[in-house]
């Protein structure tokens, strides 16, 4: 397969994942988490059954990798205000209680795995830092429970 043919196929696969899956997700943060979840934790390579069967595993892998990087840079460029909105939408779209998701995100920091492998380390650090800050702001905005001393420290 020539390089130009492969490039066209990757573009088609990219458009396909954008149209069929990513456009149906409610926010960019959700798209980022979804794309990161298509990556194998051990090997770092991407896989999507539907996309691989329509194109090829190699083309699907490349298209997912490109989409992941693009969405990552998009989210990393957001202001804190925009990022808090993204978190609100993402948590609201989750089937779990937002308070529970917030506690898990602050404790385990699962968003760390959303960073693609080959990105600039400063942008990766900015992304992680901004998510931490956005989570703290989101928590600050929540109605304060009278028995929660940790929430009280946020309001000082």
């Amino acid at each position: 397969m020539s390089a130009s043919v492969k490039l066209v196929l990757v573009q088609e696969a990219y458009d396909d994942i954008l149209r069929r899956t990513l456009s149906k997700l409610s926010c960019d943060l959700g798209r980022l988490i979804y794309l990161a979840s298509t990556r194998d934790y051990n090997t770092g390579s991407y896989h999507h059954d539907g996309l691989a069967s329509r194109f090829s595993p190699e083309v699907a892998r490349k298209a997912l990798e490109i989409a992941h990087r693009q969405v990552f840079y998009q989210v990393s460029a957001y202001s804190l205000e925009e990022l808090v909105q993204e978190i609100e939408i993402y948590f609201a779209s989750s089937r779990e209680e937002p308070q529970k998701v917030l506690a898990t995100w602050q404790k385990l920091e699962p968003f760390r795995i959303a960073v693609p492998v080959e990105v600039n380390p400063v942008v990766a650090r900015l992304f992680l830092s901004n998510i931490r800050l956005a989570l703290a702001i989101f928590r600050f905005r929540q109605p304060q429970a009278p028995s929660d001393p940790s929430a009280a420290s946020l309001h000082q």
């Binding site: 380390p121 942008v123 800050l133 946020l154």
Partner: protein, 180 residues
């Protein structure tokens, strides 16, 4: 009497600089692991991200909450990112000069003025990075936005000069091979 006062002043300034340097080193320590883990990328930090790191918009957004905790968290987090950017830029400058030195070692028509200009630009950029490091540790990244954007611009130009010099040198070498 003046000598004693002068010595005390110089001593105070030196201690102050040392304290700042130590403070900056501690602030950048938590970033070293991530830097090591995440290096290997050949991508440079785009201007929009440099602008975001040193932007006051996010600070204004935090400031209206009037939460001491959020303000402190913002200062700590953004300072760490900014210091990482300075370290990366500084490493990039060193890398460019190292590559250039290796390249010109085999060059036949070395121009003294061009090499001097490159070295002066290198020194200027390194000094700017040093200044930024201390200023960020002292005042935080938002207050040095202008200086950071200036350093980024000069760094991009420095990289371009290196690229164009290498391209010109390679064209000349090809001509030389053709003429043989």
């Amino acid at each position: 009497m003046m000598d004693v006062a002068g010595s005390v002043t110089i001593g105070t300034v030196l201690v102050f600089v040392l304290v700042l340097w130590r403070k900056a080193s501690i602030a950048s320590q938590d970033t070293s692991l991530e830097f090591d883990l995440l290096t290997g990328s050949s991508e440079s930090c785009r201007q929009e991200f440099v602008s975001r790191i040193f932007s006051s918009d996010d600070w204004n957004f935090i400031d209206v909450t009037e939460s001491k905790f959020l303000r402190r968290l913002f200062h700590r987090e953004r300072k760490a990112v900014a210091l990482l950017w300075v370290r990366q830029t500084s490493a990039g400058i060193r890398q460019i000069l190292r590559e250039h030195t290796l390249h010109v070692r085999h060059s036949e028509n070395l121009k003294f003025q061009t090499e001097l200009a490159i070295f002066l630009r290198y020194t200027q950029l390194r000094a700017l990075c040093g200044l930024l490091f201390v200023a960020i540790a002292l005042a935080g990244p938002i207050w040095v936005r202008g200086l950071a954007l200036r350093a980024d611009l000069l760094f991009q130009r420095f990289a371009k000069v290196r690229d164009s010099l290498h391209a010109a040198s390679e064209t000349q070498q090809l001509r030389h091979v053709d003429s043989i």
